[in-house]
Symmetry: C2
Subunit: 152 residues, 2 copies
DNA sequence: GCATTATGGTTTCAAATGATACTGGATTAT
DNA sequence: ATAATCCAGTATCATTTGAAACCATAATGC
């Protein structure tokens, strides 16, 4: 008897994608926790703020697709550790602008190379062209998923 | 001032991988919840059991990398809905063998095509060759992440 | 201007997740 | 055989996560 719709989980791409992504996230989360006592949302904030000094939480959420609650909590945690600071936003009294402190910048300068090194190790097997193509595929998958999702 | 280590989050692959994967998972989880009232771990169990009748929870965990707690909970939920059933394992009294019930098989026969259709929609932009290459890259990334992780 | 509605951010609550401890059956050593 | 250890699966607990309520300020309609 042949099954009419063979759904082999091992070859089902959404499943594979999820498994591999979770594994990678886990490896990275463990490393960051151990090296810098940073959770993933926290180091993402650091990275984004380092890139875009003075950004608001709202914009961080839009950029990273992190929930605003997650962003808020990460921000508070980083402020407590004086890795970032808030200054009033002259354009909007509800929000504030986020900046790395000196300490935060020093930390960032340690985190960034470690992050890139870890990425390099995980993606070492591929040449530049493959990496570019992989990144492009991710972008197109993202686009398609967004469209598939909004149809509901 | 030039930043010595440009870590552009948008081009940082582990980050991109995580964002896209979460998005895809989310779209799929929403669809399954709406169509079949199944959570992701639950339909994974259904899919695995449909593939490997009589498998134990332990083996499901190994196959899918799901935590044994997750597997246990999903199994109990499916048993409550009489979508799967347990029979004693003659080889080992601690575990049991899992089977789809008739109802479960009927459900599976609805789920599988929907799953494949959803996958097709999300990955529609690619030709077969690209999909194969994408899957191979995932496999190699998985392998590298495992190695990077165990060094710790 | 004042009322209504929208929005940035926080808090609160409920659900999901996974580490740890536990239970009962299996394996190994003596 | 029986003690010691190990392992499948479950229960308990702490942590993480996001939805919804909430607060304060901003924008819009009248």
């Amino acid at each position: 008897m042949t099954r009419p719709n063979a759904l082999k989980l091992e070859t089902f791409l959404p499943y594979r994608l999820s498994v591999v992504s979770n594994l990678v996230s886990d490896v990275i989360a463990t490393a960051y926790e151990r090296l810098f006592a940073l959770k993933i949302p926290e180091w993402r904030l650091i990275a984004v703020i380092a890139e875009s000094d003075g950004i608001t939480q709202q914009n961080i959420g839009a950029k990273t697709r992190m929930d605003k609650v997650t962003v808020s909590r990460a921000a508070i945690a980083l402020i407590d550790r004086t890795l970032i600071e808030r200054r009033p936003n002259p354009d909007d009294g509800r929000s504030h602008r986020l900046y790395l402190t000196a300490t935060g910048r020093i930390l960032y300068e340690q985190v960034a190379p470690k992050a890139l090194e870890l990425e390099a190790r995980i993606f070492a097997a591929f040449d530049t062209e493959q990496l570019v193509s992989f990144g492009q595929m991710l972008a197109r998958i993202e686009q398609a998923a967004l469209e598939a999702g909004e149809v509901s």
